[in-house]
Amino acid sequence: MCTGTALARSELPLALVSQHRLAERLYDRDGREEFQFQWWQSPAVLPVRRNGRIEIIPWGSKSRKGPLPYGGWVSQDHVAEGLFAHANPEEVVIPANLGWQAGAWFLIVEGIRGVVVETRSGPVVYMLMEPASNYYRNMTEQSPMMPIFVRQVI
């Protein structure tokens, strides 16, 4: 799993920050300002690079009842098998400098691969996951799955 990300303040346009009230998600990490996107936040959202620009999109589903899979993560294999075949899935990049799992912040070079699906109430993004490497498991107290990183192997 990866239950949170952080992105430098300077990487998000001001208009997006006010439109989505991101100031509430602004944190100071030893003098560096960053937005944190955590699964526990309500609403949970993630920045997404799509059609050449950055958007803020609701992250997954916290409801077990709706048509969407519960959670903020889907395995790449399930997507390939047609999990979202009827929801017009689109692959995107979730830009991030850091990822958060089991109490540890780890470096992300460029971002995490994600999939955006269309719903009646608009687009929703999920992180794409694969079985965790030995490294990721050890770093995250044995998380069985890890996000798929863009141009980065850990």
């Binding site: 560096r32 780890f106 470096l107 490497s133 490294y135 770093m139 192997v153």
Partner: protein, 405 residues
Amino acid sequence: MKTLVGFGDADSFYASAEVVRRPWLRGLAVGVLGNQGACVIARNYPMKRHGVKVGEPIWEAKKKCPTGVYVKRDFRWYETLSRKMLAEAGLFSQKIEYYSIDEFFWEGSATRGRTFRQTAEDIREHVKLSTGLPMTVAFARTRTLAKLFADTAKPYGAVAVEDADHETEILAKLPVTEIAGIARGSAAKLEPHGIKTCLDLRQASGLLVRRLLTVTGHDIWRELNGYRVTPIRTTRTPHKMLSRGGSLAGRVKDAYTLYGWLVRNVERLIEELQFHEVRPSTLTVAVSYFDADSATGVANLCVPSARFDVLLDAAKRGLRRAWRPGRVATHMHLIASGLKRGPWQQSLFDPADPKRDAVARAKRTINDLLGRWKLRSGATLFANDWYDDPANEHEVCDVRGKFCF
């Protein structure tokens, strides 16, 4: 012209190297994790201030330093910066030694119109400007003294200790364990004789020191007294042995996986043998176990060889002796010794094998062209996970030409 021994040591090198390529990390607490993602193998000063120690597992470190950022090690990058530092520091001396990945010794004089102290500052500034890396620089009469004074001036220090009186003043305050090469065991031997500080050691009788700490300790004693025991070595002295191996990336019980690692290590060793143009006459396989004592197996080669089939055959014999069936292995090392340098003569026991030589040549050419391990023995498939991670292609032992880790 007066010369002293110069010593440069990058401050928290791996972590600093990460900051160089990602300036946004500056000021943040950075920890570099080993290839298993479990232990902090290096950390910068901000993380150190939180009490995180080298070798500490991440689950402890993250409690002490919740804002810390963890990064995966990348020896390819560290080597690039290491060589850059060597080149830049080398501008100040004709004679520089590549001691370890982030430590250099050189023979140096003060730049014209500058004191040794100012020259140390100049070198430090120059290295910082040209590589982005913070380095501590010290000048002293010998290597041991220079390293000792640099250690006490960290981080980002620049010192010059030019005479015995100045040395005395500093040595009196340092416990003997501050000296690289004097571990706690040695210190315990010295203590009953009233030798606690570096100054005590310097003033002790050489005879006593040799009796307590053997020749190695005696050499340290001589260096403390201003006598240069080891010269600056500008080229690596030829290796007496070459070895490859390390962690098995987890616990290995299955014989095939162990065999996969053996073959991987044979291929890595051959690379090294070819680079140094040597052939071993003995091959030793050493295996460490989680639930049993380590074991070694020695195999002699009839004729020194660096050929895959010959070495693999010897390695198999070695592994057979070092293998403890049913036990869980954690580390494996392959050690080539009795290294012979050319020219090699054809012998009765070493018949020419043009076919196998051609295969070896093709393998090497393809890998030189397309990248390491692009063509490798099928047996390594048993240890295949390892090859999926490009960070595993390059280890600290792959940084050639330096004297120690």
